[in-house]
């Protein structure tokens, strides 16, 4: 069964149709990249999948269950989680707290007010694991708002996976990073991809080609091609619409 | 020298200060006169002002402060909520601290229950209660054959409802032919624009309006009436309270009446002089005539008891009579409610003594005798042994 299956998805903002009938299947444990020119609708596409907006029409199935029209928290609870293009963390909370907050729900302590958070074993353990995974143990007690940019991006990813989702959407996870940082981020994403289905939006072709099992190219709301990195690199339409002449 | 302290617990700061400050000044002014005439059983009377912001809880804190300061007599007037809190607190304090009894002299909280079902031995009221005022007011109206239709407009809270109920019952008894053509309630101190109410009064064809409103609620009501050319007179409880005259100006002339023990043109030259003096000295009018009565009776009781102890004074004050400029008043022993004659007065221009520095003041139009003011009480006073 495919992890995500999208049928005839469209989204209008007033008269403007931003996503026009997208069909896509993402297989389990696949890393699937979505690329496309600016304004093609990639972020909007993610917003639809994660429930931030309801789609205008079309259907979305997560592991066979229909999720379109559900609210973001319902979708998250069913196992789909996302990160944001612009870092979007709880600025006054510490790094650890940011992640732990993302863990409570899964640990069955979502709205608990009769037990100290420190006693919710599962959440603390999970948060420590995630912290280690994203390599921020040293910055554990730093308020998230004061983190350096790259660390904030890592935290963003950490929060996305902390809730235990197995389908993860990452929106431009390496935007604004230096080469080293990008390399680290790629490693992190690889780790994250273990045992999960991943969709990423990215403009850095290096990252895309390195990580993705398959790539879809979204242009003005339509998917014009889906295929392996090799196929995409050689697709003339993709070259014309996105990569330009001297493709990466 | 040792003094007798009387603590005034009333709003002295904030938006309600306009109600508490004149009483404070009046008390201090009269205290001087009393001290010059020998004081309270030989001791000087000292007025202590304590600010309660018209908040019952805060009043209790201030009461405790006063008690710790050695005060045995407190007075208060603004707000039945505060009065209710004080009655309860004084009652409990006296019960729990025998030997340190405190008396509460109420000069303006008019809720009838305080001298009926809630009456307390430690509470003495020097103002006519709301029902007595209505009794006087309706007696006046009953004598006026021209009034056939009456409109009631009051504030939508316990006091306003009490006024309305008393008016309906008493009019029915005294003048069954009078028709109540309207009985409106509006929230307390929330209405900015009374014109819709005035329109309603206008179209009801009322000959007279009765209102227990106070503060801005009476000013704005009468002002709106004047602007709309409504000619019906307003019979009120608080038409002369501070600020009303200033704001109404000629809009109030011949339109607003007040039932009270006070009016602006004393015939007694001594009182007329004192009133002018007080304005000069404090900037406030002599509106709270009853404060003078209260202090005089306080002095008389102390002299009679030969002591300034609160228990003694309470005992002496029960049933005490006092000759005032308006005639004899009496502190009824049954319920500690003062019995006194009242006066209907109307606002006029070009008065000899103008209120609030204007030329306007309230001119006496009728005297209602004590017998026509008094009402029976349901009080079953629990007296200390």
């Amino acid at each position: 069964m495919s992890a995500l299956s999208i049928k005839g998805l469209t989204k209008n903002f007033g008269p403007a149709e931003v996503i026009c009938g997208v069909d896509l299947d993402v297989a389990e444990n696949e890393v699937h990249a979505v690329i496309g020119p600016n304004g093609a609708g990639k972020s909007t596409f993610f917003n639809l999948l994660s429930g931030a907006f309801p789609p205008s029409s079309g259907e979305i199935y997560l592991k066979g269950e229909r999720i379109d029209g559900l609210s973001p928290e319902k979708i998250q609870q069913r196992g789909l989680s996302r990160s944001f293009q612009v870092s979007n963390v709880f600025g006054n909370l510490s790094v650890f707290e940011n992640i732990r907050c993302a863990c409570f729900k899964q640990s069955g302590a979502g709205y608990v007010f009769w037990r100290p958070a420190g006693k919710v074993r599962a959440a603390n353990q999970r948060a420590d694991e995630v912290l280690e995974m994203i390599g921020l143990q040293a910055l554990r007690d730093v308020p998230a708002g004061a983190l350096p940019y790259a660390s904030q991006r890592a935290l963003e990813i950490g929060m996305t996976i902390a809730g235990g989702a197995d389908v993860v959407l990452l929106d431009e996870p390496t935007a604004g990073m230096s080469n080293t940082e990008t390399t680290q981020a790629i490693n992190l994403i690889r780790q994250v991809a273990q045992g999960r289905t991943l969709m990423i939006v990215e403009h850095d072709m290096g990252v895309v080609f390195e990580l993705a099992d398959r790539i879809s190219v979204l242009v003005y709301g339509k998917i014009i091609a889906t295929g392996t990195p090799e196929e995409i690199r050689n697709d003339p339409r993709v070259k014309e619409a996105y990569l330009g002449e001297e493709a990466a | 020298a040792e003094t007798v302290k009387l603590a005034l617990i009333d709003p002295l700061t904030g938006p309600m200060a306009g109600a508490g400050q004149p009483a404070f000044e009046h008390l201090k002014f009269e205290a001087k006169r009393i001290n010059a005439n020998g004081g309270i059983n030989g001791k000087d009377l000292e007025i202590v002002g304590l600010d309660n912001k018209v908040n019952p809880q805060e009043s209790l804190v201030q009461l405790q402060k006063a008690i710790d300061d050695g005060v045995q007599f407190v007075t208060q007037g603004n707000g039945s909520s505060v009065a209710s809190a004080l009655i309860g607190a004084v009652e409990k304090h006296n019960q729990r601290n025998p030997g340190k009894e405190v008396l509460y002299l109420n000069y303006a909280a008019v809720d009838p229950s305080f001298t009926n079902e809630r009456c307390s031995y430690w509470h003495f009221r020097f103002d006519a209660n709301a029902d007595m005022k209505m009794n006087a007011l309706t007696t006046y109206i009953a004598n006026n054959e021209d009034i056939k239709k009456v409109y009631l407009i009051n504030q939508d809270y316990s006091f306003g409802h009490a006024v309305s109920k008393a008016a309906r019952e008493m009019l029915k008894e005294k003048r069954p032919d009078i028709e109540i053509v309207g009985n409106d309630f509006h929230p307390l101190a929330k209405v900015k624009d009374f014109t819709p109410y005035v329109s309603k009064i206008q179209s009801s064809g009322a000959d007279a309006v009765i209102s227990g409103n106070w503060g801005q609620d009476i000013t704005l009501l009468v002002k709106a009436a004047a602007e709309f050319g409504l000619d019906a007179p307003f019979y009120t409880y608080y038409g002369a309270s501070s600020g009303v005259v200033t704001q109404l100006g000629d809009k109030g002339v011949d339109r607003i009446y007040q039932i009270n023990e006070y009016y602006g043109d004393f015939e007694d030259p001594e009182m007329a002089k004192r009133q002018v003096e007080m304005y000069k000295e404090t900037g406030w009018d002599f509106y709270y005539l009853r404060l003078s009565t209260m202090l005089d009776m306080f002095k008389k009781a102390a002299d009679k008891a030969g002591s300034t102890d609160s228990v003694e004074i309470a005992k002496a004050m029960e049933g005490m009579t006092l000759e005032t400029t308006n005639g004899e008043v009496m502190m009824r022993a049954e319920d500690h409610q003062i019995q006194l004659p009242m006066f209907m007065s109307v606002m006029q221009d070009d008065m000899e003594y103008g209120a609030e520095g204007t030329d306007y003041n309230f001119h006496k139009v009728a005297r209602i005798e004590r017998e026509d003011v008094t009402l029976p009480t349901t009080c079953r006073m629990r007296r200390p042994k």
């Binding site: 006054n92 909370l93 | 304590l50 209710s84």
Partner: protein, 424 residues
């Protein structure tokens, strides 16, 4: 990497868990010692009791504003209704113990705060859901409307609210616990101390629970919350209920303390008081509102003995805190504490001291100014005399002194800012 960051990292190593108990032991000790300090001074006890109530009230308010980011103008609704519930219960106890039977005959008055808490929580539960959709201005305004409506209803239904005179009861009824007679304010103190301690501890503990943590998250970034599986509205709603419960608890304490409750307690003024106390004390520090409650209560009840401009001073103090110490008095204390812990105090103290001096000078200048204006318009004011000021308002030099004081303050303030910049 910045020093702040590395300092934070240093700190994060590990913390001995016993250290966390110290403040509570101190708090309990202070509560136990106070009665000996103030023995025989019932005004002090009366004030302490009011402070206890206000501490709980302000802290419960801060659960909403400081921790959940929800600015409310209707918090007194919970306080007031909790108080009413407790008072009705007290009356029931009175009636029942007169008859000597029935459920209420066995309920002690010291338990009234529980009744208040249940009532406050229930009211929040019933009313809260539609309100918690949004935080921010919408929430502020809807609570303003709620406050006005409940306050109006309080005047409209005398059988429940007792009309203007309110309802009143007697705390010396029903079974006694721990021999606590509750006759004098000094007796009531023990009741207050107990409940204040319990409530403060419970509210502190709440901040440590998952829900308490989520309430900070919903304050910082409600949108993101959805994507980690929460509906922000649910969290807000639960905070609202928790805060309402503790507000009600404070109301229950008040019912026992004052033995009367009137509809005014539901209105905008007490709600504003909660905001005032929390903001003066500081929204960002847990104990901030405690400091605020103490300071504001004292100013409210004592300042008016000395000056008729007391409300003006409260306003000015509030303004200067908002302007010069945005994190409140508690925030200031916390800053000093952190600097001390980091061994930074010596270096930063001069800046703080001169800053405080500057604000102090400005305030004194303002006070002189206000008192002179007061004298000019009202005649003598006691406060001026207390401060040893016998100004003739018409004389120029008085006004000059005020101006000089303020100017001096401003200059020092400028210099301080410069100093701090250079230090940084």
């Amino acid at each position: 990497m910045s020093q702040d960051l590395s300092a934070a990292m240093q700190r994060s190593k590990s913390r001995p868990s016993l250290r966390g108990l110290v403040p509570w032991v101190v708090f309990a000790a202070v509560l136990l010692l106070l009665p000996f300090v103030f023995q025989g001074n019932s005004t002090a006890f009366t004030l302490l009791n009011v402070i206890g109530i206000n501490i709980v009230f302000a802290l419960s308010y801060n659960m909403l504003l400081g921790q959940g980011g929800m600015l409310s103008f209707g918090h007194a609704v919970f306080f007031g209704l909790g108080s009413y519930a407790a008072m009705h219960a007290m009356i029931a106890i009175d009636d029942a113990s007169y008859a000597g039977e029935g459920f209420w005959a066995h309920v002690p008055v010291v338990g009234m705060p529980v009744i208040g808490m249940i009532a406050g929580g229930l009211v929040a539960l019933v009313l809260g859901w539609p309100f918690c959709r949004r935080a921010g201005t919408a929430f502020a305004m809807i609570t303003l409307g709620l406050g006005e409506m409940v306050a109006a209803a309080g005047q409209m239904f005398p059988s429940l609210f007792g009309g203007e005179a309110g309802i009143y009861g007697n705390r010396m009824v029903g079974p006694q616990w721990f021999g606590l007679e509750l006759a004098q304010s000094a007796d009531v103190y023990w009741f207050m101390a107990f409940w204040t301690f319990v409530a403060v501890f419970a509210m502190w503990a709440f901040t440590r629970t998952p829900l308490g943590r989520m309430s900070n998250a919903v304050r910082d970034n409600p949108d993101r919350l959805q994507f980690i599986g929460y509906q922000p509205r649910n969290i807000r709603f639960m905070i609202f209920i928790a805060s309402g419960s503790f507000g009600g608890l404070a109301g229950g304490m008040a019912a026992v303390n004052y033995e009367i409750i009137t509809p005014e307690a539901l209105g905008l003024i007490p709600s504003g008081l909660a905001l005032l106390m929390a903001a003066v004390g500081g929204l960002g520090v847990f104990y901030g509102p405690i400091v605020g409650a103490i300071v504001v209560t004292l100013m409210n009840s004592m300042l008016s003995d000395y000056t008729d401009a007391s409300i003006l001073y409260v306003g000015l103090v509030f303004l200067s805190i908002v302007m010069f110490a945005p994190r409140g008095l508690g925030g200031g204390i916390e800053q000093v504490r952190v600097a001390w812990r980091d061994g930074d105090l010596g270096r930063r103290l001069p800046g703080w001291l001169s800053g405080t001096l500057a604000v102090g000078l400005i305030i004194v200048g303002m006070v002189v100014l206000v008192e002179m204006m007061f004298q000019a318009t009202h005649g003598d004011d006691e406060f001026a005399q207390v401060l040893g000021m016998e100004f003739d308002a018409a004389a120029l030099w008085g006004w000059l002194t005020a101006a000089v004081l303020v100017a001096l303050g401003v200059v020092i303030k400028r210099a301080t800012n410069k100093l701090r910049e250079d230090q940084a």
